[in-house]
Symmetry: C2
Subunit: 267 residues, 2 copies
């Protein structure tokens, strides 16, 4: 048995090697800076077309980084050589919509009819916000961003439907335009905001009382609440359809790819 590593992995590949050996079991925020991290959703082949179509119809909450077809376990586009069953620090297994296990690998639950979806996460665009001088108080702390259910309906596909979940960040008034520009560059990690300014306009009563994640007060009273589509949406929507089997990463324990943030930038 190996001892726990204390070194922070510098690349996606280094991080995955640690996770594969279960030497590092913790949230991945701040690891391998500049490498794209991804949400994971695994579903049986039966529902793969309709879930992919749901993602195509809702690209802001569900930007597809890569799909691993049934019978395969290697994300050969975004992380060649990786194994999706072992290379994430912690997983969650849901049966008929209920969480039944939180394993460190998927060896005992894997089936050959499972299709794995890697979806963009907000870490890449948060890095872009910080580079543009927009402070994010939750960044590299053990707290998370605020998330809310909204009155914005996703476009359904097959059994998948439901409200869009958004993340909210307080942005100084003189940085709102820059925040829109900086995140527009990254459509594969949720892209431009879905709303700027009025929480009530998208069904949010109080922006300091999130449905998920942690609560944040504005640093200045003039700060503007800015809302981005959130990767919790596809998981929430898939879960609500109560599939016989669905597997995700444990919250905050993402898949680290070999892609760099700039590989996903469109401009």
């Amino acid at each position: 048995m190996t001892t726990a590593s204390t070194r922070v992995p510098a690349t996606g590949a280094e991080a995955r090697a640690e996770f594969r050996q279960n030497r590092l079991v913790q949230p991945t925020s701040g690891m391998a800076p500049g490498f794209v991290q991804a949400n994971l959703a695994i579903l049986p082949r039966d529902s793969a077309f309709e879930f992919l179509l749901f993602c195509q119809r809702n690209p802001k909450p569900c930007p597809v980084i890569e799909v691993i077809e049934a019978g395969n376990v290697e994300p050969s586009i975004s992380a060649p050589g990786a194994d999706i069953r072992t290379d994430i620090p912690k997983y969650r297994v849901y049966r008929n919509g209920e969480m039944t296990e939180e394993p460190l690998d998927l060896k005992s639950v894997w089936r050959d009819d499972l299709v794995s979806f890697l979806l963009g996460c907000s870490f890449s665009f948060e890095h872009a916000l910080i580079e543009n001088g927009i402070a994010l108080p939750h960044w590299e702390t053990d707290k998370g961003v605020s998330m809310f259910r909204t009155s914005i309906e996703t476009t359904p596909a097959g059994p998948f439907s439901g409200p869009m979940v958004v993340s909210m960040r307080w942005v100084p008034q003189n940085k709102v335009v820059r925040a829109v520009q900086a995140t527009t560059r990254f459509p594969n990690t949720h892209g431009a905001p879905v709303h700027v300014g009025d929480p009530a306009a998208i069904g949010i009563d109080d922006p300091t009382k999130p449905d998920f994640g942690d609560a944040w007060e504005p640093a200045n009273p003039s700060d503007v609440p800015v809302f981005w589509a959130c990767g919790v949406t596809p998981q929430a929507v898939a879960m609500a359809s109560k599939p016989p089997l669905m597997i995700t990463h444990a919250p905050g324990h993402m898949f680290l790819t070999d892609l760099k943030d700039e590989d996903l930038a469109i401009i």
Copy 2:
């Protein structure tokens, strides 16, 4: 029986009404300016997931505007109220990779297991090029753009694989940067070029001898050949897999949506 219409339709909806009655059977270039036109590929449900995945993996040649699920015939996102079986001027039916019919509607061949894919076409970005002062000699003539098979391989999915087909336009040297910028705005109609400058670098021997479409000489010797991913790619790739049944629009006879070009712009 109605007499043939001589009026050029001004909107997508007007054009579709003409096509539905078979009052207008001609290529759609120049119709309903500013409305998004789309390529059509119809495949049985069996191969729908892998074809959608092929499109996701190859977004430049295969930008998905909308997918109509099996059992449905209405493009409810891009053209509510339309019927994909009747609202295109002319179709092509292929069986095991061979063209067997070129009907004006699909009433006699329709089956409830067919999934319809509407994919972006180059008309939207050509309009943007013209607006930016880049002349296109084929525009609104009965000739077409030059198209070439390249040495660029698409990323396969299931039975779908093969070389990328590109379209080529001669661009004045001092407009090349603008051409990249103007088309970058439209990723859903093929987006930024895949290559600028050297035809041989992507396996093209002679840019005045296209594999498909019409041949064009540069207006000035210093004009630069600029290459964009082409919507012929997914049709060629699907056809090469010899599906038992596949239906497309007849070349140049596109589906007209209610979307405006600007609806697809990302910036």
